[in-house]
């Protein structure tokens, strides 16, 4: 608040026109930087939608040539894929409302009628309005532009009330936000639901089983890391036992032995055990985490002494204290570590690559390598596979942005 008041006093001498120009300049700079960050993705989407032989022949087109569209509606396809794309759209609407209002999902204040209408109504209207859009694209009947604009307007209309009720938002701002939302969501649906390339890539590169394997691996690794780290941290903070400092140093020394260093030895162990191409080989080396132990230990150390004294007097044992007080009270730290642990398990590349000898046990990341190594004639499908593979993490990022940022910056800021 102090800053904005200071700005006001300082800028009193400035002309309004100059101030507007300054603001526009800032938005321009931010827009250009956004292009830098999102540019590669945008160009990649164009590549994914362009049939490769044609674009090789034509040089390097900056627009897709003859995208092949599916004959479909929003509701075509299996129940799983339907639920998937619907949930994504729902999450996007909810996230936009959250950003606009500044109210987090956890607060009850988020769930007011205007925002519920925007999120649920927006999803329903989008799903219904996309049917004619997809049909028009597939039949190439020449009405596509009209149908698309209509769909965008309908979706924008559902968002208006939600943005309107957000605090500090002017009516013009609400209309602009709603229009952008309609434009963006319908655009995304056209790009990511209507073309055939996404489903082709999904089946061609067996992304389903690979993704399932990555999911299982991620869940097991995360559960293992969080539970072993929590137990170890508890022992280091609340229990008295001999050689504590030496044991703690032993824990932390593992940070100096990254997987890249121990790879040769660990691969040998896995081969001797006959565990190549097995789930236990994928997860067991990541069953414990010194970083997690350290972070959760810091969290436990931050608890006031009185809590433990009081619970001890009330007759709580260590297990009860751990599960009923220590863990719930350090939930932000544990949540941040959980998300970071899941993210790094999902992104794991070197280890699965080293211990998978047949392609039938590839995780998603290794399957992508296989896709890119296949012939250039199907380049667009391999690119599509990479974009499809990014979707789960995009969702994770949207849902747990705060925890991820806290986990990544732990240690950077005191």
């Amino acid at each position: 608040m102090a800053t904005s008041e200071g700005n006001a006093t300082l800028r009193m001498g400035q002309s309004p026109a100059r101030k507007t120009a300054g603001t526009a300049g800032q938005y321009l700079a931010l827009g250009l930087l956004s292009l830098l960050v999102l540019g590669p993705i945008g160009l990649t989407v164009i590549q994914a939608l362009s049939p490769p032989f044609t674009y090789v022949a034509q040089g390097r087109p900056l627009h897709p040539v003859a995208v092949s569209w599916q004959d479909r509606t929003w509701f075509t396809g299996g129940i799983a894929s339907l639920a998937f794309r619907t949930v994504i759209v729902l999450l996007l609407f909810a996230w936009l409302q959250k950003v606009a209002s500044g109210v987090s999902f956890r607060e009850k204040a988020f769930y007011v009628p205007s925002r519920i209408v925007a999120v649920v109504g927006g999803t329903v209207v989008l799903a219904l309005a996309m049917g004619p859009v997809f049909q028009s694209l597939f039949e190439a009947d020449g009405n596509t532009l009209v149908v698309v604009l209509l769909a965008m307007a309908l979706v924008a209309a559902t968002q208006l009330w939600g943005y309107w009720t957000a605090e500090h938002r002017t009516p013009v701002g609400a209309v602009v936000m709603a229009l952008f939302t309609g434009f963006g969501l319908v655009g995304l649906a056209v790009l990511f639901v209507a073309p055939t390339v996404w489903t082709l890539a999904w089946t061609r590169y067996n992304l389903g089983p690979a993704m399932g394997r990555s999911f299982v691996m991620t869940i097991i690794v995360t559960v293992l890391q969080v539970s072993t780290a929590t137990m170890a941290a508890y022992a280091f903070v609340f229990l008295r036992f001999p050689f504590k400092r030496i044991l703690f140093a032993l824990f932390m020394a593992t940070l100096l032995l990254p997987l890249e260093v121990t790879l040769v030895g660990n691969v040998a162990t896995i081969r001797q055990l006959g565990w190549t191409d097995t789930m236990q080989a994928l997860v067991l080396p990541f069953g414990a985490a010194a970083l997690g132990t350290f972070l959760i230990r810091q969290g436990f150390r931050g608890l006031p002494t009185e809590i433990q004294d009081a619970t001890r007097l009330d007759g709580y044992g260590h297990i009860a204290f751990l599960t009923k007080f220590a863990v719930p009270l350090t939930r932000p730290v544990i949540a941040a570590f959980t998300v970071i642990s899941a993210l790094s398990a999902w992104n794991q590349y070197l280890w699965p690559r080293a211990i998978t000898e047949t392609n039938s046990f590839n995780t998603l990341q290794i399957q992508l390598r296989l896709a890119s190594a296949s012939e250039v004639a199907n380049a667009n499908q391999a690119i599509a596979a990479a974009l499809v593979a990014a979707v789960p993490v995009i969702l994770l990022l949207i849902a747990f942005q705060r925890q991820i940022i806290r986990g990544l910056t732990a240690g950077a800021v005191k």
Binding site: A2, T3, L10, T23, Q26, L30, L33, L36, V37, P40, T44, Q47, P52, R60, V99, L239, R240, F241, P242, L247, A249, M252, L256, P258, E260, V261, T262, L263, V264, G265, N266, V267, T269, L284, P285, G287, A288, T305, N347, Y349, L350, R353, A354, L364, Q365, R369, S372, A379, I383, A386, L387, A389, A390, I394, L397, Q401, I405, L408, G411, V413
Partner: protein, 306 residues
């Protein structure tokens, strides 16, 4: 981040939470010790089998030389360490890793700071730009590598980089996805640093007539220098550990021109002797890099409350 945390360890004293009446040292409650054993056992088991055991094996395997591609091993003492660590292959791998670091780290620091400074202001809709800038966190190394593999592909890319024939371009092509992918991480970390700078400091500077550029170079950057150092350490370590980019894009080529140390280690998972020596080499490289960075930078970095 891990290394920074570990560096601050030795200062940590005995736990804050103690029983009200602290018994004399050496006196332990058997039940507590038992519980501690149970709690530490899972972690210790994993660390022993997958961290300490392989490292110990590497140290000893380094003294054995493989015969006929790993069919049998001859004890050669420290000769293999001397030959491999002093040889061309290790030096080349180290140089390529260093090249990768030189391409990715300065770019990450500069672009991360640029994005964070641009997005650290009070503007309507700034949250949307912050979300866009941090969005590359959502891509894995494999995803970003595949994206750049096709974006800069010599045959079908928008920008055709001849990494299959030009050794100089190969390392650069492998570094590009890392630079792009690090944007999100660098942005998030620097932004957190900027947000920790008190508004009053910037306001005072503004009232003293400091312009935007002087505020940035004289006040903001010195104040967030610990955060920048933290980022530097992470990026250097990521750079030395890079593997997927090379595995997917250049596959080590052309003619081994982009084989980094980790890539060479990966290729040697069949030859335990040589692979072990290269691994020990990598261990010392990361160790030296980390301590070197701290020794030099610790003195120059401004810490808030000293």
């Amino acid at each position: 981040m891990s290394v920074v945390d570990s560096m601050s360890l030795p200062n940590d004293d005995a736990p804050v939470l103690e029983a009200p009446k602290r018994s004399r040292r050496g006196k332990y409650n058997a039940k507590e010790v038992g519980l501690a054993f149970v709690f530490l056992l899972p972690s210790l088991a994993v660390f022993s089998v997958f961290f300490y055991l392989p490292f110990a094996r590497l140290l000893s395997w380094g003294t054995y030389e493989s015969v006929r591609g790993g069919a049998s091993y001859n004890p050669v003492g420290l000769d293999q360490y001397k030959d491999v660590l002093g040889g061309d292959e290790f030096r080349q791998g180290l140089w390529h890793s260093l090249q990768f670091v030189l391409y990715t780290v300065p770019a990450g620091l500069i672009l991360g700071t640029l994005l964070a400074v641009a997005a650290h202001r009070r503007l309507k809709g700034i949250k949307v730009f912050q979300a866009i800038f941090s969005s590359t966190l959502a891509s894995s190394v494999a995803v970003s590598s595949v994206i750049f593999f096709f974006l800069f592909n010599p045959a079908v890319g928008f920008f055709q980089v001849s990494w299959q024939s030009d050794p100089d371009m190969a390392m650069f092509a492998a570094a590009l996805p890392a630079i792009w992918q690090n944007l999100g991480l660098a942005f998030v970390i620097v932004l957190a640093g900027l947000q920790a700078v008190p508004d009053e400091v910037m306001e005072a500077a503004r009232l003293d007539g400091y312009g935007a550029w002087r505020r940035l170079t004289r006040i903001t950057l010195p104040l967030i220098s610990p955060v920048l150092m933290f980022l530097l350490v992470i990026l250097v370590i990521y750079g030395f550990q890079a593997f997927a980019q090379i595995d997917i894009i250049t596959k080590g080529g052309p003619g081994g021109a982009s084989e980094t140390l980790v890539f060479k280690i990966f290729k040697q998972t069949q030859d335990y002797g040589k692979g072990a020596v290269l691994s020990v080499g990598l261990f010392f490289v990361t160790l030296v890099v980390t301590f070197f960075q701290f020794a030099i930078l610790d003195r120059r970095v401004h810490y808030g409350d000293e």
